[in-house]
């Protein structure tokens, strides 16, 4: 659920109703009428802004929402890992969903990393550390980062040591829903993260090259065999549904009238040949649920109507007036077909997911 307090918009029921009507047109007219349903709001991004961090990025939206991400890596001693024979047992307990048969030896890479090797914290000025907003956002992001299992496996050094990644995010007080922005900034920061090059071998205490120029990117652009490796960190795309329309990267006013909000985490990986792979999907409780409903004339005694006698009565009346144009907060739920459509739009070849990932990658080049 999204914490509502910060995202509360102050629009009247009439305004909400108007907004919803325009968004549900075909084609929809967005608040920023120059943008289509698939268009993202314009933003500024730069990377390597924190010289002392292993990787860093900063993305600012035009409305002033801004995220600064720093990635720091630290060598940590791994907990005792049981010998290969016992490994599957321990891991199936730890990771829960790892298939026992799969974990058996051959696919070692899948089983090397551990979720706790990545720590993510979000700092928002004016919020306490344990406020729901930063905690919720952090856990969403963390969940996405570990979902594909690639990142944590990259942190494996040897059986006794691993990198621990500290991802620290500084977020300006949110003016709109910040999840997508955070995710993109984190993505960019991870993309530019470099780790010192390892000099020691096997299970020795790790020893690193002291030349920073020799350090290796966490996500290399090209693999050793020359083939382009498309491994990229996951990124979250936020989509909303209004009626049958699907709109990506909504602003906060648009969120206020959404029927449903989806956060889709996707990543491009070498296993999927084209498009992107969806690694997670979450519905987000849209702030529209908390908007005050409009009072139709028929229920307003001031305009000649009769006020409903009980709340049950009021509900029934509203049900009947649902499509009359008077603002009623949506009651949630999403059609299966819409869900399928969103995931298709994100994951298809040349879809939103690929667009976002290539766009973020080209920042690095440009």
């Amino acid at each position: 659920m999204a914490p509502a307090m910060a995202l509360q918009v102050s629009l009247s029921p009439a305004e909400l109703s108007y907004l919803r009507a325009t968004l549900s047109q075909t084609p929809p007219i967005r608040l920023d009428h120059t943008k289509g349903p698939r268009d993202f709001r314009s933003m500024r991004a730069e990377f390597d802004v924190l010289p002392g961090a292993n990787g860093s990025a900063r993305i600012a939206l035009e409305d002033g929402l801004e995220a600064l991400v720093g990635v720091k890596a630290e060598v940590q001693r791994s907990q005792w890992q049981p010998a290969p024979g016992q490994q599957e047992k321990a891991l199936s307990v730890a990771a829960g969903d790892v298939n026992m048969a799969e974990a058996d030896g051959e696919d070692d890479a899948r089983t090397k990393g551990h979720n706790t090797w990545i720590e993510l914290s979000i700092d928002v000025p004016g919020f306490r550390d344990d406020d729901p907003l930063p905690v919720f956002l952090a856990s969403m992001l963390h969940e996405t980062l570990v979902a594909d299992g690639q990142l944590k496996d990259k942190l494996y050094i040897n059986r006794r040591f691993h990198w621990k990644l500290y991802i620290d995010v500084l977020l300006s007080p949110p003016l709109s829903y910040p999840l997508a922005l955070l995710s993109m900034a984190t993505h960019l920061a991870l993309l530019t993260t470099r780790l010192p090059a390892l000099k020691s071998e096997k299970d020795e205490d790790p020893l690193f090259d002291d030349d920073w120029a020799a350090s290796l990117p966490l996500y290399p652009n090209s693999g050793r065999d020359g083939r382009a490796v498309v491994d990229k960190p996951p990124v979250i795309v936020v989509a909303l549904a209004v009626g049958d329309n699907i709109i990506f990267d909504p602003c906060k006013e648009e969120l206020a009238v959404a029927d449903a909000v989806l956060a889709v985490a996707c990543t491009s990986s070498s296993s999927s040949s084209k498009g992107v792979q969806i690694v997670g999907m979450r519905t987000i409780d849209p702030p529209s649920h908390l908007t005050p409903p409009g009072i139709p004339n028929s229920m307003n005694s001031a305009t000649g109507g009769t006020a409903p006698a009980s709340s049950a009565d009021a509900l029934t009346q509203r049900e009947l007036l649902a499509s009359s144009g008077v603002w009623t907060p949506p009651r949630g739920g999403m059609k299966r077909a819409l869900l399928g459509q969103v995931s298709k739009m994100v994951s298809e070849d040349g879809g939103i997911g690929e667009e976002v990932i290539t766009a973020l990658e080209s920042i690095e080049l440009g």
């Binding site: 802004v49 900063r58 002033g64 020691s200 071998e201 020795e204 205490d205 020893l207 690193f208 920073w212």
Partner: protein, 990 residues
């Protein structure tokens, strides 16, 4: 929306960037790996420091007195064939690494620009070389200037993408040299329109790539040897270039490896942490150069490292990592004397083909060892052996030795042909060093200083280079310098910065007459006390003086007054630093190497008689039973009434006719000291013995005339007792005031295993029991070790027991638990050194701490820091030991000189037995020497060694048994030892 970036932009400075950064990865000891970004602020006011340049004089930064640091480089630098109009040298890193000894030569290499890039690279590659380079830059005569090229805008070089650090640094060097050349040319041009002599700035590098590039860029550059060849005494100088570099180029194709490769650092670190490998200092047995031992923290006893292959190029003193060998390769320590020169006489230093790590003879010697071990019983149980798998830190220093005559091909003095010869180091534990030299003929018969440069896997002996010649073998100057170098004693005269710290009045300094003078603040006026000093005859640095007087209540007031050195040596000035480095004064037979400049040591601090001196006094009230009622510490002013020698004092005390107060005071001291001593003995203090001899020298030439064993008088122990008492009192006071940072001295109880051998020997040979459970038990059982027929036997046992002890050490109180403070030998709970601040740095530190403890002055921060004090302790412990060793070596040399040409028969005692020789100790001269079986008769007689009973049954013409503790008559002659070139006494059985 106004967009701003968080990144710094260079556009601000108009493209002329004044800010740069340096990024690297730092791995900390605790295993953390950090990315470090250092910002560099580039500036334009770093001067070129050439006296030719006026522009730099304008811009150079000024110090607090508004003065520019004087420019270093000469305006008329020396020229050479290639650069007739003069040159400034700008050596690359490799030039310093291979030719540091060259740069230190006084006659050449002036006007050198040390680039910051180079300086930092040298620091990374070799810390000792870095320190030498820094010392050079401080030497005004050499005109070395450190140019901070990395900070100067014009010479700063950004690392290009994909460029290695090495290439970048080379480029930085070239860039700096190029800039210098342009700069100097411009400076000369502004000086006079007619351009006359424009000195070139010449890069010196052995890096081919760098030379090639500089040629392409038109930068003057030479290799080190090219440059040296153009100098006057090129032959001698060329010998001083390190061999390491050359060899790498000469021998490329050859693949035969004699030694196993070292493990990677990370592998060793992991192994050491996991406990499968061990780190320790590699020590070679002085009796057997093939047997090394490594003491590692994991085990009580040292691990043995046998044979060349296992010691794998480790040189005595290196910090190594070892791996324990499988049990079937364990061996007992050697009972055989193996010396390098007897086995490898015929090695040819030039030939490297067909060389084996263990020559045939070496291998045979090892086999015999193994055989012997296998026929062993429980006594000589095989001990764990280990092999060296890597070296953490080389502790190579400069070694003194002489050229092996047999290794010289042509000894003609005129031949300038380069040849490879062996240098046989004086220290038997160091392997022969291969030297490449063009002056072999001249070096024969000289004491030579050389260093080791490298020891590659494909070379049986390390390669090194010549540093300098100390002079003729056996000449006093050369031998004295040799032993100072061998024991790392700093003997150069005090630099000017140190002498600047002395009081301006010099010898005219006096205790101020005016009691209001700040010097009197907090000082007690003790000038009316009848103080006197008792020291060895001829002593000039008088640390301590004493007095005693009766108090009205029947008790005695006893005072120990110590020279107040801390008044003159303030913490952290140049003099203090020098003293802390020297650590102690070193006494040789004919020479004293002072810790503090003469003015202080022998005059201003020295408690000379009849003059007023500042002192630090410890005053006790003591009952007539020698119980201490109270102790008081104060800074004071005293006037010593007399300076006695031990003998004079003894005579005066014994002379009943002397009834003056001073003599009576001394009698009181004598009476109390005897009681104190008895108490100490009752508490379990050890009375140990070490062979001490005195050498009488002719006063003019200081040639040795006679050797005597030292006599101990009662007055010796009088002074000793009160010094001990003062030290103990001060230790208690300092510890109370600074429980974490008091500088103390401890003597650890020796581990039981140390005495195992001696107590077994005593049991088997004499039926005596040595109890070692406490110092008291040991002292008592040592008293019982008497042979009624042989009065010296007891002393002999004490000498041997002393060698089983741990050595006492300085430490900082915070690093040990209180029970560990104990001084085993003195049976005191706590102890420090306080009474000889003129000749020991530890005492000086104790003075400072005591002064702070009594609120006389505040404590310097350096004495508050545990880590700093630990560093000080570590250094003075080493210095202390080296000073003792140097002193002993000096005595040994003089004993040899005194016995030169003599032939004496003396009695001696067998101290140690090997299967092919034994060690005899001669009390009369305090010498011990090895007698090998082959010295007894040629051919070497057969012998049967009974290790259990310590008997060596010599057959053949000699036909006698030699057993431990046996009294034997030996003939003492002198000989020049072939291996070390030392004149040594030679013993033979009569």
């Amino acid at each position: 929306m106004e967009y701003f970036s968080l990144k710094r932009s260079n556009a601000v400075d108009g493209g002329n960037f004044s800010l740069s950064s340096k990024v690297y990865v730092r791995s900390t000891k605790s295993g953390k790996v950090q990315k470090i970004v250092r910002e560099l602020y580039l500036r334009q006011d770093i001067p070129c420091s050439s006296n030719l340049c006026r522009a730099c004089l304008q811009i150079a930064p000024t110090d607090y007195s508004n003065k520019v640091a004087p420019f270093v480089l000469s305006d008329t630098p020396a020229g050479s064939k290639n650069f007739p109009s003069g040159q400034y040298l700008a050596p690359d890193t490799n030039a310093f690494l291979t030719g540091m000894d060259l740069f230190e030569v006084e006659s050449a290499f002036h006007d050198v620009i040390v680039l910051q890039t180079v300086l930092e690279e040298v620091k990374n590659r070799s810390l000792p070389l870095y320190h030498r380079l820094i010392a050079l830059t401080k030497n005004e005569g050499k005109r070395f200037y450190v140019f901070f090229n990395e900070f100067r805008q014009e010479t700063h070089v950004q690392r290009a993408v994909g460029e290695t650090i090495n290439d970048r640094n080379d480029r930085a060097v070239r860039k700096a040299v190029q800039w210098y050349n342009q700069h100097i040319a411009a400076a000369v041009a502004t000086r006079s329109k007619k351009s006359q002599r424009i000195p070139s700035v010449v890069m010196i590098s052995d890096d081919r790539d760098n030379l090639k590039k500089s040629k392409a860029e038109g930068i003057p550059a030479l290799t080190l040897s090219e440059f040296v060849s153009g100098l006057d005494n090129a032959d001698e100088l060329l010998d001083m270039i390190s061999a390491a570099q050359e060899r790498r180029e000469v021998r490329t194709g050859k693949a035969e490896m004699f030694y196993p490769e070292y493990y990677s650092t990370s592998k060793m670190m992991t192994g050491v942490k996991a406990g499968t490998m061990h780190q320790g200092i590699f020590n070679v047995s002085p009796y057997n150069y093939l047997e090394g031992s490594v003491h590692v923290p994991a085990f009580d006893k040292s691990l043995l490292v046998l044979g060349r292959e296992n010691s794998n190029r480790a040189v005595s003193g290196d910090v190594v990592v070892v791996e324990v060998l499988p049990k079937d390769q364990w061996k007992a320590p050697s009972t055989k004397i193996i010396e390098e020169e007897t086995l490898n006489k015929n090695d040819n230093p030039e030939a490297e083909d067909g060389e084996n790590v263990s020559s045939e003879r070496e291998r045979r010697a090892l086999q015999e060892e193994v055989k012997r071990v296998h026929g062993q019983n429980a006594e000589g149980r095989p001990q764990p052996t280990a092999r060296v798998v890597g070296i953490i830190k080389r502790n190579w220093r400069q070694y003194v030795g002489h050229i092996d005559r047999d290794s010289v091909r042509s000894s003609s003095k005129t031949s300038r042909q380069q040849q490879v010869v062996f240098l046989v180091p004086m220290d038997k534990r160091i392997p022969k060093i291969r030297l490449r030299t063009r002056q072999a003929g001249e070096l024969l018969g000289q004491r030579v200083l050389a260093t080791i440069d490298a020891w590659e896997r494909d070379s049986r002996y390390p390669f090194g280079h010549f540093v300098r010649s100390l002079g003729e073998l056996e000449s006093k100057g050369a031998e004295t310098e040799a032993l100072l170098l061998e024991w790392d004693v700093q003997y150069r005269p005090f630099p000017k910065t140190v002498l600047d710290c002395l009081p301006a009045e010099g010898h005219d300094w006096k205790v101020p007459a005016d009691l209001q003078n700040p010097g009197w603040r907090g000082r007690k006026d003790l000038r009316d006390l009848l103080v006197c000093s008792i020291d060895p005859p001829g002593c000039v640095d008088i640390d301590d003086a004493l007095h005693a007087r009766k108090l009205p209540n029947g008790n005695f007031e006893v005072g120990v007054h110590i020279a107040d050195v801390s008044h003159f040596v303030k913490p952290n000035n140049a003099m203090d630093k020098e003293a802390s480095q020297r650590g102690t004064t070193v006494y040789l037979v004919d020479k004293r190497i002072d810790m503090l400049p003469m003015l202080l040591g022998t005059d201003l601090c020295s408690l000379k008689p009849y003059v007023e001196r500042y002192a630090f006094s410890v005053l006790w009230e003591i009952t007539s039973d020698a119980d201490i009622v109270s102790a008081n510490f104060t800074k004071s002013v005293i006037r010593s009434r007399e300076a006695f020698s031990y003998e004079q004092a003894q005579i005066r005390i014994d002379d009943a006719a002397q009834q003056d107060d001073l003599t009576n005071g001394m009698r009181t001291l004598m009476m109390l000291s005897k009681k104190l001593r008895q108490k100490r003995m009752d508490a379990g203090a050890l009375n140990l013995a070490s062979p001490e001899v005195k050498i009488q020298t002719e006063s003019e030439t200081s040639d040795p005339v006679d050797v005597q064993t030292k006599k101990a008088l009662d007055t010796n122990s009088l002074v000793e007792e009160f010094m001990l008492l003062a030290n103990i009192s001060v230790a208690g006071k300092n510890y109370e005031a600074f429980p974490q940072t008091a500088l103390l001295r401890r003597h650890a109880a020796p581990p039981k295993t140390n005495f195992e051998e001696l107590s077994n020997q005593l049991k088997v040979k004499k039926g005596l029991e040595l109890r070692t459970d406490s110092s008291k038990a040991l002292a008592d059982s040592l008293d019982l070790c008497i042979d009624s027929k042989e009065p010296f036997f007891n002393t002999l046992v004490r000498i041997m027991a002393t060698r089983c002890m741990m050595s006492a050490e300085y430490f900082c109180s915070g690093t040990q638990a209180y029970p560990e403070f104990r001084h085993y030998g003195l049976a005191s709970e706590i102890y420090t050194h306080f009474t000889s601040p003129i000749r020991r740095y530890a005492d000086l530190e104790a003075h400072r701490q005591l002064a702070a403890a009594i609120d006389y002055e505040s404590l310097d921060p350096s004495l508050h820091s545990k880590s700093k004090l630990e560093g000080v302790c570590k250094n003075i412990n080493v210095r202390h030991r080296n000073a003792q060793m140097a002193g002993r070596a000096s005595i040994e040399y003089y004993v040899g000189q005194a016995l030169k040409g003599k032939d004496i028969v003396e009695e001696g005692f067998v101290m140690k037995i090997f299967s092919n020789g034994f060690v005899v100790f001669v009390p009369r001269f305090g010498i011990e020497s090895l007698i090998r079986l082959r010295d007894l008769e040629t051919p070497e007689p057969e012998a049967e060694f009974d290790a259990e009973n310590y008997v060596l049954n010599v057959r053949g013409g000699v036909g006698r048994d030699v057993e431990l503790f046996q009294k034997v008559q030996v003939r003492i002659t002198d000989e020049k030892e072939e291996s070390t070139g030392k004149r040594k006494v030679r013993l033979s059985l009569v």
